[in-house]
């Protein structure tokens, strides 16, 4: 059990870290484009496509697992104060199970979509050349896959207080 928790938390953290790297690259890449254009009238025609298809996709999907483990999926706590604690805890398990199911289906669907894109080798046509973009489709099922794993883990964790502490120790630091 300990191994599974350690592995999942590590994986989700790593993916989220890659998402952070994409944010930094996005900032530098776009700024460089602006600077080159204004100082040297040189335009890197690939910037919008690289930003959209690689950086944006990475930052959108890769952190989903980390998000789930840290319980930062946005939800509406409208009835929180009405529901008794027992019921709320049971609901939490049900929610984690539903999440596993939905993320699992998303993983399945986007994985086959990515395979189709790979088979047709999809690219975008730019001014001078064709830029392949099919690789980036695989970031989607990777992110959803991690989220599925995280939701499944949350289900277990919610049922066993001991593993809850273990998980907390692996997510650690600022949970604010």
């Amino acid at each position: 059990m300990h191994m599974i928790i350690r592995f999942s938390a590590g994986l989700c953290r790593l993916l989220s870290f890659i998402g952070g790297a994409a944010v930094v690259l996005m900032m530098l890449h776009v700024t460089l484009d602006v600077v080159l254009l204004n100082l040297f009238r040189v335009s890197m025609n690939t910037t919008p496509e690289i930003v959209a298809r690689y950086y944006m996709v990475a930052v959108a999907f890769l952190p989903l697992g980390w998000l789930t483990l840290r319980n930062q999926m946005i939800s509406v706590e409208l009835l929180d104060f009405v529901l008794p604690k027992r019921l709320r805890e049971n609901l939490d398990v049900l929610i984690a199970l539903t999440g596993t199911l939905i993320y699992g289906m998303l993983t399945y669907a986007t994985w086959f979509k990515a395979l189709r894109e790979m088979r047709s080798g999809s690219f975008v046509e730019l001014v001078r050349f064709q830029m392949p973009v099919w690789h980036s489709h695989f970031l989607v099922p990777i992110g959803f896959g991690a989220a599925t794993l995280a939701c499944a883990l949350m289900t277990i964790v919610l049922l066993s207080p001991r593993s809850r502490e273990l998980l907390a120790s692996h997510i650690g630091e600022d949970t604010e």
Binding site: G20, V23, M26, V57, A60, M73, T110, H137
Partner: protein, 436 residues
């Protein structure tokens, strides 16, 4: 029959949200189930397979993480704090001075941020703890910032206005200009709300004197960096050095560079800013993906068409049509995300508005204002969720929703003003285009 499924979908969505299923998952689940029921398994799986990538992989969407990063870095390096301090130095002596200062700081920050979310996030971090410390009821402190954040989408640059301009095929610059006055009027209306509460309910907002206003000159010096950033972003934007989408990245880079020059860019700042940017971006985009699926589900079910024919076939007066349109936006705004809401409604409403001879620039500002009201109404209020994210130590989501209530009333007054006096929106665009 499909329409029935559509309406059931809305009801079930409400139920799932009330049971605390995460918003994104609820939207995805209902859309998938609904499309499955209407068209079968393949189209339903198709929606799951195709929507996520096509929603996220967009160049214009990159303004979201970039403006978020800018806000988070500005916050963690204390740059936005200067803005708040300067506003305090000028306004803290007023009743409810801290809240009024934070509203003005929101308005200033709006000039560098493209969305109300970034605005709420950045200001929420600084102002809420301070207000709570000064004896404000946490719900009103949070509500004030959640509402103040909406000014971010009204004062340009504004991602929503860019998207409206593209869909409505009208001048984005003109919509921008129309937004300036409404952004300022909104800020003013919020200040009046704060003053009223401070006057009648000192138990909620403590009267003046609770805080020592900082020294004016010192805080103005603190504000200098953020003024430089505003000059960088606005100057670059209007002199043609970069586009509104690029402005986010340049602004973020400028903020990082400035912080580094001031020696405030520590490893901890970088780590926290990136972590928060990544988590906020991802959790917002996944909701956007869910909302897009839900919009497609409603479109297929025919609920959207039902609304359109209801409005256009009945031969009602212009005022009544407008009133209904406003009510529909307020209703949709309760549970939909603004991009999706615009996509469903604009194809229906724009021809109606055009046929009535009303200005599309004016309508654009009205729609953005209405959608921004939706950002703070329950059960799905994105600004409120962001506030909850950045101030979870002080408030629950329900507290924030309670706190924004008086500001929503002010919003309704502003909406009525926009409808009653269209020149409030149009005088700036007309001034500029007349001068050309």
């Amino acid at each position: 029959m499909s329409v029935e499924i559509g309406l059931w979908g809305v009801a079930i969505l409400m139920g799932l949200l009330a049971l605390r299923l995460p918003v994104a998952l609820a939207l995805i689940l209902v859309s998938f189930g609904g499309i499955w029921a209407m068209l079968g398994w393949n189209p339903a799986m198709g929606i799951l397979a195709n929507t996520p990538y096509s929603f996220a992989a967009r160049w214009t969407m990159s303004a979201v993480p970039m403006f978020l990063l800018m806000g988070f870095v500005a916050y963690h390096t204390g740059l936005t704090g200067g803005l708040f301090d300067a506003a305090k130095a000028l306004l803290a002596r007023l009743p409810g001075g801290l809240a009024i200062s934070s509203i003005f700081a929101c308005s200033a920050f709006a000039a560098v941020s493209g969305s109300s979310l970034a605005n709420s996030a950045a200001m929420g971090r600084i102002a809420i703890p301070e207000m709570v410390k000064a004896g404000y009821r946490p719900s009103i402190a949070a509500g004030c910032i959640a509402a103040g954040g909406t000014i971010g989408a009204l004062i340009p640059p504004s991602i929503l206005m860019i998207i409206y301009g593209v869909i409505a095929e009208t001048s984005i610059v003109q919509v921008f200009l129309g937004g300036i006055s409404i952004g300022l009027i909104t800020a003013l209306s919020y200040c009046i709300v704060v003053l009223c509460i401070a006057w009648f309910r000192p138990d909620i907002i403590p009267p003046t004197g609770a805080v020592e206003p900082p020294d004016l000159w010192q805080s103005l010096r603190q504000v200098l960096p953020i003024v430089l950033l505003i000059i960088l972003v606005f100057g670059g934007l209007f002199s043609g050095m970069f586009t509104a989408t690029q402005a986010g990245a340049v602004g973020a880079f400028g903020t990082v560079a400035l912080a580094a020059a001031m020696g405030r860019l520590t490893r901890d700042v970088i780590r926290r800013s990136l972590n928060e940017t990544v988590i906020t971006t991802s959790s917002l985009l996944i909701i956007g993906i869910g909302a897009t699926m839900f919009t497609r589900f409603l479109g297929i079910s025919g609920v959207s068409n039902l609304i359109a024919s209801f409005v256009s076939d009945s031969g009602m007066s212009m005022m009544l049509v407008l009133l209904i349109i406003i009510c529909i936006y307020l209703l949709l705004g309760t549970f939909m995300e603004p991009f999706g809401a615009m996509l469903v409604t604009l194809p229906i409403f724009l021809p109606l508005i055009d046929a009535q001879g009303l200005s599309l620039v004016w309508f654009g500002v009205l729609v953005v204002k209405l959608l921004e009201v939706g950002m703070i109404t329950p059960p799905v209020g994105m600004n409120v969720f962001v506030i909850k994210n950045v101030a979870s130590r002080y408030v629950m989501v329900t507290d924030v929703f309670r706190g924004v209530l008086p500001f929503i009333l002010a919003d309704l007054v502003v909406v009525a003003l926009i409808v009653a006096v269209p020149s409030l929106v149009l005088f700036l665009p007309e001034l500029v285009s007349g001068a050309r």
